[in-house]
């Protein structure tokens, strides 16, 4: 188990290193920081000083090592769009807002997707199943930014029930959380349904029914516990997807979380913050995957002996 954990940790660190190379390379490819950071009418003297101060006159490998050394210490420099703010500090400041939104989205996903998936499997071929299938199809084919805008028009403009955008009260979380959760509900409901269908067809379930075990116990005690492996392992990916996938929705709802920071930093060519937010997302994603792997070991003992 420990060996497996160490292996996974090492591969995660290696992946993070690769990500730093990609982040650094993309920053280099997206134009000179001189044009992004200095005023249009900057003099040659200003440009020269800037190039020296930022080490842009150094070989690329040296620039990368400097970047990596600073990144390890969490130092990505100072934000250009939000002057005076540390790039990583600013990103981390926004994290609680994203966690609140993501948390609610995950909650909505679980509350709707699991019962929907179970019901669709138990009542296979029924109206519930068809509704669940239709919902899943709709949810997975609808772009979330479009859904976000539609929800605003229905619930904020026409009905006037909820605010269009911003942050502040619980009401501000509802629409963006639904917009983020929509896709995940579809995905998780489908997974749960297919996993349950497989298990419900198993011999031991038939035996339980023959022995007169109540349908409730058959479904939730015997079937769900075994079928949960698939949705459980997907849950880690889902959590990471919801947190990182909030980029577009936070922008649509002008919700100042990490996703919003990512979009605004890219628009403002705020290199330090762009780099910081990508690394932060990468870490979140890798930790989630690591967690999933560990969960998988717990629910599937064959892995740790493999």
């Amino acid at each position: 188990m420990l060996r497996y954990l160490l292996q996974r940790g090492a591969s995660s660190l290696f992946a993070l290193l690769i990500i730093t190379v990609i982040v650094f390379s993309l920053s280099q490819l997206s134009g000179s920081p001189v044009d992004a950071l200095l005023p249009d009418d900057a003099t040659q003297e200003q440009i020269d000083i800037f190039i020296r101060e930022w080490g842009l006159d150094q070989p690329l490998w040296k620039q990368y090592l400097t970047f990596l050394g600073n990144a390890v210490q969490g130092d990505f420099g100072v934000s250009l769009k939000w002057p005076g703010e540390s790039a990583m500090g600013f990103v981390l400041d926004r994290m609680p807002a994203t966690l609140r939104l993501g948390g609610l989205a995950i909650l909505i996903t679980l509350i709707i997707a699991l019962p929907l998936g179970i019901a669709a499997a138990v009542y296979k071929g029924s109206a519930i199943d068809r509704i669940a299938q239709g919902f899943a199809l709709l949810g997975q084919s609808m772009p979330n930014f479009w859904l976000g805008i539609v929800l605003i028009w229905i619930f904020s403009v026409w009905l006037g029930w909820l605010p269009t955008s911003g942050i502040g009260s619980f009401a501000h979380l509802i629409l963006p959380a639904i917009a983020i959760a929509w896709f995940q509900i579809s995905a998780l409901a489908r997974l749960t349904r297919s996993a349950m269908l497989e298990v419900l067809d198993a011999e031991y379930i038939k035996l339980a029914r023959v022995k007169g075990v109540s349908e409730w116990a058959v479904v939730f005690k015997h079937a769900l516990r075994n079928a949960a492996v698939v949705p459980l392992t997907y849950f880690g990916i889902l959590a990471a997807s919801i947190l990182t996938g909030s980029v577009v929705i936070e922008s649509v709802y002008s919700y100042p979380g990490m996703g919003w920071v990512a979009i605004e930093a890219i628009r403002g060519r705020d290199f330090p913050v762009v780099q910081a937010v990508i690394i932060a997302y990468a870490v979140i994603y890798m930790l989630s995957n690591l967690l999933v792997d560990l969960l998988y070991v717990i629910v599937n003992p064959r892995i740790k002996h493999g």
Binding site: S32, P39, T164, A171, S254
Partner: protein, 541 residues
Amino acid sequence: MKSRIADVTRGASKVFTAALLAGTILSTVNAQPAMAQSTVVVAVSPLGADSNLYWTTTGAFILPSLQTLVGQDPETGKYDNSQLAESWEHNEDFSSWTFRLHPEAKFNDDWGPVTSADVVHSFNLHIGDDAKLSGISQFREISVGAVDDHTVQFDLPAPDPNFLFSHAGRGSLAIYSKAQFDAEGIEGYEAAPAGSGPFRYEGRETGQSITFSTIADHWTGASPEFDEIQFRWVSEPSTRMAMLSAGEAHAVTLPRDLQDDAAEAGETVLASSEGAMQTTMLFTGQFMNPEAEENRDARSYAWADVRVREAMNRALDRDAILEALYGEGVRTLPVYTMDPRFPGYSEEIAARFDEAYGYDPERAMELLEEAGYPDNFENPKIPLVVTSLAGNPEFAQMAELVQAYFDIAGIQTEMREQDWATGNTAIRGFSADFVTPMRNAPVRPSALGVQIFFTSQASPHLDVGDPELNKLGADLVSETDPETRDAMLDQMFTRIFDSYAHLPMATVPASVVVNSDLVEGWTFPGTTSSGLSHFELIDLK
């Protein structure tokens, strides 16, 4: 079966009732209703930089609590004394400017009167190493001194007849309180900078909004008819429009297509009283330089041939293009950087525009044939830059429309998708070989603009390489006689016009969409970087 249907119906009814109940609760408890009439909400795109230290931003937005030295009339855009300077004068050669401050001007929050010391202090902050303001580099060579408590003198290294522009539309210098700095340091400014404008800074939510309250009995006599004004930074235009429709915002900025939708929905589109921006498609490289250096040789570009340039201009149906891009209030621009508000404007050139630049695809094809296009050209394809720039979402569509018209005339094109900074890098590196959308915003004085975009005097990387223009540009720098300058500018614009040195497009007003139920009107000249100003004149219903 009937009982199942009844169950389903009962279930649906419960769900519907629950939804209605939830909605009712939310609408009474949590929903953010339209802000009270006493708070005006203006929703705009987020700023390039979000800071109370104006000089660390690019100057896109001056906090309405702060003032500059020179104001502008809301209807004509002409310089006036509505800001801190009561009057001004310059020496004979425009190299020394003296501003007399309003003696009654004072900072809010009891930080005392506005004096020359505040101007000198603010100037020194603005030229610091952390300054990012557009146009600030020329300030670094200026010396400023207080003549007395209310008189301040700027000594320039070279004559600058357009110096007022820096203090008005360009907004290169916002006046902060020295007394506050002495008492609280830069942290005081970061927390709540005191200004002398008709609004008091109340606070900001990072990335979300910034709020100001109105000052009762302001020293200028300005008296807004609301208690607070809040600027909300909302990047998604559809969300801004929803805010307007939901009554959460009084005024929003919207791209053209959504403006039309908003107008159809009964909202009102208000345009600035004057042009806020000029747009063009600019040829890059020193294509008019007969002796271009090898590494900057633009003579191989197809647009180095004046007949091709004329053909490109005549291939464009500008009325249709401008209608598609901008709609109401837009005017055709005869020469980029020439503007009737500034010296150098030529009625004669404007009158000749239709004749020389009017849509005439047949003539365009004749000209191309005369030039032997495309066979006689090493690079017959015209690379058109498809790009976007904050505030100019129409630039990509502009390039596409130009391509469509070029195609009709038989001009070969190549669409180059690149971000603005990449294009800038190529232009600054003298390696640009494309035709790119460009803007002049706020509209600079003509004498300044023409030097930046066509000669080697201000931005050598934009120099078209024409010896005649460069000679006139060099002479203009040292010429101080207004009449002679006028005549020189006329010659420069005539030269640009006659040699088809660019593809002029439009003079565009700034526009804002207001909620028709809440706002009666708003007069603003469109002379600032964002195009919006004079918030105290928002007229509520």
